[in-house]
Amino acid sequence: MKLDRRRFLGLSAASVGAVAFGGRAAALQAPWAVPRKWYDGEVRTVFSYCENCFWKCGITVKVEGGRVRKIDGQKQNPKSRGRLCPRGQAGVAQLYDPDRLKRPLIRVDGSERGEGKYREASWEEALDYVAERMLKIKEQYGPEAVAWFGHGSGDSWFVEYLPAAWGSPNAAKPAVSICTAPRETASQWTFGRPIGGHEPVDWTESRYIVLIGHHIGEDTHNTQLQDFSEALRRGAELVVVDPRFSTAASKAHRWLPIKPGTDLALLLAWIHVLIKENLYDRDYVQKYAVGFEELAVHSNKHTPEWAEEITEIPAETIRTVAREMAAAAPRAVLPPGRHTVWYGDDTQRMRAVYILNALLGNYGMPGGFYLAKKPYLEKYPHPPFPLEPAAGGCSGSSGGEEEVPEGFKPRADKGKFFAKTTAIQELIEPMLSGEPYPIRGLVCYGTNLFHSIPNVPRTKEALKKLDLYVAIDVLPMEHVMWADVILPECTYLERYDDLVAIAHKTPFVELRQPAVEPLWDTKPGWWIARELGLRLGLEKYFPWKDVEEYLDTRLQLIGSSLEEMKQKGTLIQRGRPYLKDWERRRRNPFGTPSGKIELYSKTFAEHGLDPLPDYTPPMPVPQGFYRLLYGRTPVHSFAKTQNNWVLMELKPENEVWINREEGRSLGLRHAEYVWLENDAGVREGPVRVRLTERIRRDCVYLVHGFGHKGRGVRLAYGRGASDNALQTRYVLDPISGGAALRNNFVKVVKGAPRPQRKRIGQLVRERRL
C-alpha cells in the first residue's frame, strides 16, 4: 500500500512536468527574452500514421525536447501526400490532454455501474481481475458469452486476434453496421468486390460527379478531399443531392434539395431515363453485366414524373441530370458515400447507385471506380485460431452463409439479417434478453457506446446486466466510466500497432511506431492483449514476445524488415486499377456468383429479398416534428475529439440547423438555446439555434459528436447536443444488418437556459495548473 502510494505520487509528479503547457524551462531564461520556439531546437522526425479518424493517413511526427511538437503529412504516403486534415494536425493535443486516463481503474466494490466510483490499481491486479471473471463466464456460459467491441486501428487485437483465439464470434465494430454495411453488402452482391476502407473512386479522372448525401468537405477524409478538389479544378461537373446545402453543394453546379429518405426514387428515375432514352453504355453492360432485361422491365414504372411526386425534384431536372451524366460517361460517377445507414432500405439504395454506375459503364474504367487491390502482406505464423475473425470491417466480407466450426455457436445476431458481418447494435439485445443465448461480458476497445450506437437507454440497461464490462480507452468518456475495469491505453503517438494494409490504386503497407514514451502508467493495446491472452490460457497464440518481433516477422515474410519500415514509413506496391489491367492478365475481378456485375441478384431472390431495388417510403414525419438529420464537421471526428483543445477552440459546440422561415414561424431567434425532444419523449440539449437558408423546412440538422455528459472530459462536457441521444429508434436493414438512424423525429422546445460554460482558452489554461 505504502509503496503503491509512493509510486503514484512519483508518477504524478513526473507527469505534471511532462504535460505542463509550454513545458520549457522558462525559469532559466533572461527576463527580456521571449520563449524560444520549438522549431529552433533539435527536431527529430518519426514516421507513423494518424488515428484521429479511421482513414489512416501517413504522418511525419516532429519531436523536440522529448515532446511531440507538430504532426505533418508524410510526403511519400499515398493517403496524405504531405497534407493533413485539421484533426490530423491537432493530434498533439490528444497526447498531452491532462484529462487522459492515466492508470488502471477498478470500480469500487458495492458501487453501481455509472456511478463512476473507482480506485486505482496496478496493471497486474486489473488484468488478473479481468481474466478471472472472463474465465468464469466462459466456464458458465461458453466463450461466445463475451462480446468484443472495437474500433480504430488498434482494434485488430480486440475484435480479431483475441476473440478469434478465445473463441467468440460476437466481435463487432461500429464502422460496419452503423456505417458502411449497406454499401459493402450491396457492392459484394453487385460487383463481387468490397468498396473497402478507401473508396476506389477515380475522382481526378472523372468529369461528372453526383454526390448522394456524402458531404465531402465536412466529411474530411483527407485523400478523398484532395482528389475531389483536384477533380473540380480539372473541370468536373458536380451535382449534390442533399436536403441540406452542404459544403459540397457550395461547389456544385446543381444542388438538388431532395425530400429526405426518397433518394431511391430519384436513382430509379435516373435508371429509367438512361434505359428509356438509350443513354446507357450498351457494350459495357453486354460484356460485363447480367440481368439487364429484368432491370429494363422493372424500371418501366419509375418515370421522372413519378419520382418528382416523391422527391420534390422536378422531372425535367431529373431528365437533364441523367442526360448530362450519360454524356460524360464513362467518366461520370456516383460515389458510394460511406455512412450509408439512413432509412432501412439502404442496401437497396446502394444497389441502385451501383446499377447506375454500371449503366454508365464506369466500373473499372478511368473516371469511374478503379479496382482496388490489397497489398501483399503475410499473417504472423501463429497456430490457426479456432474461429475466423467475425467483425468484418469497412472492407470485411459481406457474404451470405457462414459455417460454424464444431463446438462453437453462431453469432448472436444470426438470422436477423442477410449479411455475414456482425451488427454491433444487435449484440446489445442478448445482453438484456439472453436470446438466442446470453452475453454476459463485454470488452470494449475504443468504441463510443453512448455516442455511436443508437438507443442509449437500452445500452445502459444492458450494461447494468453484465457480469463484466471492460473498457480500453484513452479518455474518461461517459461510457468508459461505466466499466468494471478501465484499462488506459496510450495514444497512437506512443505505441506500435499492427501493420495496416491499404487497398488502393497503389496498394501499400503502413507502420505505426511510437514517437515518444507513453505518459503516466498507460500501455499499448498489443501489450494489453498479450498480457490478457496469457492470463486467459491462450499462450500458444502469442509466440511473440513483443510487438517489434511480431512486426519484424511479418515484414521479413514479404522481404522487408521493421528497420526498413521505420525508415520508410510506407511501403508502396504496384496496383492493377483498371479492367484492362485485369484482362491483360486474363483475370476476372468480379467475385459474384455469375462472375459478372449483377444488375439483377439471383442470390437475393433466393433469399426472399428484392432482386432489383424498388422504392419504399421512409417512416413518415409525425405532425409537429422534424426529421433529425446529422453529419460531420470538418474539425471533429465523431464524438472523440471534443476534448482536444485545438479543435475545440475552432468549434466548441454544435448548433441545430433550422430553416430560417420555419424557425421564424416557431418564434425562434438565431443563437438562442432550445431543447430538442424526440417523439419518444427524450430531451437533449440545451443547443444553440442556427437559423439558416441552407436546409429544407421539413428537417433539422445536428453535427454528430457533441453533447458529452462525462464530467471527466472537461472541455467536451456540456456543450451542444448529441444526435445519438435522440436516436432512440433505428430501423434494421434486413440485408446488411445496418442500423438506419434517420428515422427519428424531434420538436424544438423553447426556453432552455444558456449553458454556463467557460471559454475553451480559459479552461485550457486552468486545466494545466
Binding site: 507538430k70 485539421p86 465536412e218 473540380l232 459544403t247 485550457v764
Partner: protein
C-alpha cells in the same frame, strides 16, 4: 529580395480549418488566440443559397498601417515585404492592434504582439508556410510576386479577378483571393443576420 504573397482560391476552399489547426501547432499560438481563422458567410436565400468560406490572417500589407504606429520599431516590414514583430522590442502597447484593419494581431500572454508571420522560419528554409503545406484542397499558394517562376504567377495570370480585403483601406494586401463567391454574382446579398 522577394515580395512574398499568398493566394487562396475560394472556389476550392471548403473551410475545413486544417490550415488553422496547423498554424496553432507550428507557431504555438496560445489558447484563446488564432493567427488564422475561417469566416463562413451564408449568401442568398433558399434554394438559391451559397456559402463563402474565407480563411483570414495577416495580409502582410504592402502599406501596413500597423508599422508606423509602433513606438519601438518592434513592428516592422522586412526587405522581403513580410510584416513582423520583434518580440524582444515589443512593449505590448497594442497600438498596432488598433491600427490593423483586419484584426490580424493579438496580444500573446507572454507579453508581446503576435500574428501570422507567413511562417518566415519555414520560408527561410525553402518550405511553404504550414497552412499552405497542409491544406487538403490545395487552394492555398505561396510565392514571390517578383519571381516569374513562382507558382503564384500561373494562378494570377489565369485568374479573372483577384480580390483583397477592404481595399478602401489602401493597405495593398498580399493575401489575395480568387473566385470570391460574394463577388462572383453567385449570390450578392448576405442572408439576414439575426442575433
Amino acid at each position: 529580395m522577394a515580395r512574398y504573397a499568398m493566394l487562396i482560391d475560394l472556389a476550392a476552399c471548403v473551410g475545413c480549418a486544417a490550415c488553422a489547426a496547423a498554424c496553432v501547432l507550428e507557431n504555438e499560438a496560445p489558447p484563446g488566440h488564432n493567427r488564422l481563422w475561417i469566416r463562413q458567410r451564408e449568401l442568398g436565400a433558399f434554394p438559391d443559397v451559397t456559402v463563402e468560406y474565407r480563411p483570414e490572417q495577416c495580409l502582410h500589407c504592402e502599406h501596413p498601417p500597423c508599422v508606423p504606429v509602433c513606438p519601438t520599431g518592434a513592428s516592422h516590414q522586412t526587405e522581403d515585404g513580410l510584416v513582423l514583430v520583434r518580440a524582444e522590442r515589443c512593449i505590448a502597447c497594442a497600438a498596432c492592434i488598433a491600427a490593423c484593419p483586419y484584426d490580424a494581431r493579438f496580444m500573446n500572454p507572454a507579453g508581446y504582439v503576435d500574428k501570422c508571420t507567413f511562417c518566415e522560419h519555414r520560408v527561410a528554409r525553402g518550405e511553404d508556410p504550414a497552412c499552405v503545406e497542409t491544406c487538403p484542397t490545395g487552394c492555398r499558394v505561396f510565392g514571390d510576386l517578383d519571381d516569374p517562376e513562382s507558382p503564384l504567377h500561373a494562378w494570377l495570370t489565369e485568374a479573372k479577378r483577384v480580390d483583397v480585403l477592404r481595399p478602401e483601406m489602401g493597405t495593398a494586401p498580399k493575401l489575395l483571393y480568387l473566385n470570391t463567391p460574394s463577388k462572383r454574382g453567385l449570390a450578392n446579398h448576405e442572408s439576414e443576420v439575426e442575433s
